[in-house]
């Protein structure tokens, strides 16, 4: 557990750097984790070359889901839309630096799922986006 609750995670949970909403935005998407009621919205602004200039997330959830969102949003700044589309589960786990069981994995990956559904312009966020 002391691993799971690394200082980084607790710190990002308590002092998030990228919480908020961006209006207007170029990409926005939100979704729930039906198992636990976590909710995440992600907003992204792109420049004319499709590079992320600003991004933010909002919603509520456990420390893992919120810290993962905060770290992910930081990470995509300066990335192109294609790079965002290509993000994987491993990228998020590397950012968190922990191993997770199947239930907490869903918490950790909610923000990535929402971000990718928005990046691809999909109608819904499906699990295969973060498989």
């Amino acid at each position: 557990m002391d691993d799971l609750y690394r200082e980084l995670i607790i710190d990002r949970y308590k002092n998030p750097q990228f919480r908020g909403e961006l209006n207007p935005n170029d990409i926005t998407f939100e979704d729930d984790n039906p198992y636990c009621g976590d909710h995440i919205r992600v907003d992204v602004r792109l420049d004319e070359n499709g590079v992320v200039t600003e991004a933010a997330y909002s919603g509520e959830g456990c420390s893992i889901s919120q810290a993962a969102a905060d770290l992910l949003i930081e990470y995509i700044h300066g990335k192109t839309l294609d790079e965002v589309k290509a993000l994987t589960k491993e990228d998020v786990l590397d950012l968190l630096g922990i191993e997770l069981g199947p239930v907490r994995l869903k918490c950790a990956l909610l923000s990535l799922k929402v971000l990718k559904a928005g990046a691809y312009g999909l109608g819904e966020a499906t699990d295969d986006l973060v498989a």
Binding site: M1, L4, Y5, K14, C36, G37, D38, E60, C62
Partner: protein, 416 residues
């Protein structure tokens, strides 16, 4: 519980614990299991495990129609379980006990068989805001199909049903009143007898979701006056895969069958069939035979302790749990005070999400559940996405409650 009188010892918890093999296990080396998730599913005593093991080792055969020794023994075992369960809930006859998979299936059986035959467009069903999804979604589905109207008895901020509002809803002359006897989140024990009597006075049929009450309280269908009672074996020391629909004889007689197939028929021709007698009319296909035998053993185990003793033990337990939890700054426990409550404590902490609470507690070997507990509308009502829920049964001790409290302090330390 009056503080001036020490609680009377109503059951021997150490003796009970010795019957539950899983309680001997350590979750991790040096960390014994503290199982506080019996509302989701209970643990099983060896008496139940042995009854099922014995069935498979010595008797296993399909029931009915066999004239060989094993088939006769299997049928006798299955029917003996039914009789034992009928006595346990005070049913007038064993054929009023229908074996199903679980509470959810029992409720769906009533919705599709009784509901389709008796409800018409515009008819009103009264439910409550504290229902488990399994006593909500089947009625939403039926309402969409038949154009029914669903009305809900509100839950007060204290977590009780607003009975004045209920009495006003009865002016709509509902055809059915369906409600949980005990909430799996708030722990609220609803005044079932009063709710049923008022429903009957306006001619409504009543269904009691007994998933939480039958395992934890004395439940007698005659005293309650219930028309239908649904419950699950796995929450009352029995195996999963077996549950019960109790129905009053005349109602069950008049209902069309639910699933079609073997065993539910008397006679079949190529284009027609005639329906078998109760309870077989509602038991199509090979049932969960060993599981029924296991549930019979579970009921025998509970009856030997006595449901009054179970109720009293858990009542004293929840009073202690609430007292200890209320000491912890910031803890918010949902639901009424101990007097109206079964041994369920769903709570939140300002500094940590339910998942995080449950994860830290797991480090202490403590199993609690985190989420909406299949009661999303109720959580919405209280404005919270999720709670952590600790629930207690006859094998839990006060020492375990003390560990829970220590664990919650640890959560506060990590997230505070």
């Amino acid at each position: 519980m009056k503080p001036t009188h020490p609680p009377k010892i109503v059951l021997d918890v150490q003796k009970i614990r010795a019957d539950f093999p899983v309680l001997e296990r350590e979750v991790r080396p040096g960390v014994p299991l503290i199982y506080l998730d019996s509302t989701a599913t209970s643990q099983k005593p060896r008496q139940v495990l042995e009854a099922m093991d014995r069935f498979y080792r010595r008797t296993n055969a399909n029931i009915h129609r066999g004239i060989h020794t094993l088939a006769e023994e299997a049928t006798a075992g299955y029917e003996a379980a039914r009789e034992r369960i009928a006595r346990f809930i005070g049913a007038a006859a064993a054929h009023e006990v229908i074996f199903v998979r679980n509470t959810t299936e029992a409720i769906n059986l009533v919705a599709y068989s009784w509901g389709r035959a008796n409800l018409n467009a515009g008819d009103v069903i009264v439910l409550t805001e504290m229902e488990h999804h399994s006593n909500l979604v089947p009625w939403q589905m039926l309402a969409a199909e038949l154009d029914l109207r669903l009305e809900f008895i509100p839950v007060t901020p204290e977590g009780l049903l607003d009975l004045d509002a209920y009495h006003r809803l009865l002016d709509l002359h509902p055809k059915l009143v369906t409600f949980t006897h005990m909430s799996n989140v708030l722990g609220t024990i609803n005044p079932a007898q009063e709710i049923i009597a008022a429903a009957h006075a306006v001619g409504a049929v009543t269904l009691v979701d007994g998933a939480q009450s039958v395992p934890h309280l004395p439940v007698d269908v005659q005293t309650l006056g219930a028309d239908f009672l649904a419950f699950s074996g796995h929450k009352m020391l029995g195996p999963s895969g077996i549950g019960v629909l109790y129905g009053r004889g005349e109602l069950l007689e008049a209902m069309p069958p639910f699933l079609g197939g073997g065993d539910m028929i008397k006679r079949v021709e190529l284009r027609s069939f005639s329906v078998n007698a109760l309870p077989y009319k509602f038991e199509a296909g090979t049932p969960a035979i060993a599981e029924a035998v296991g549930l019979g053993a579970a009921v025998e185990y509970l009856a030997a302790i006595g449901m009054e003793a179970v109720e009293q033990y858990e009542h004293e337990m929840i009073a202690y749990v609430l007292e200890r939890l209320e000491e912890i700054p910031g803890v918010r426990v949902f639901g009424p005070e101990a007097q109206h409550k079964g041994a369920v404590a769903a709570f939140t902490l300002p500094e940590a999400h339910a998942h995080d609470i449950s994860q830290v507690l797991d480090d202490f070997g403590i199993a609690v559940r985190a989420g909406h507990h299949c009661a999303m509308p109720l959580h919405t009502k209280f404005g919270i996405p999720a709670t952590a829920r600790a629930s207690f049964y006859i094998y839990n001790t006060r020492q375990e409650v003390d560990r829970l409290v220590e664990g919650i302090y640890k959560v506060k330390e990590i997230f505070g």
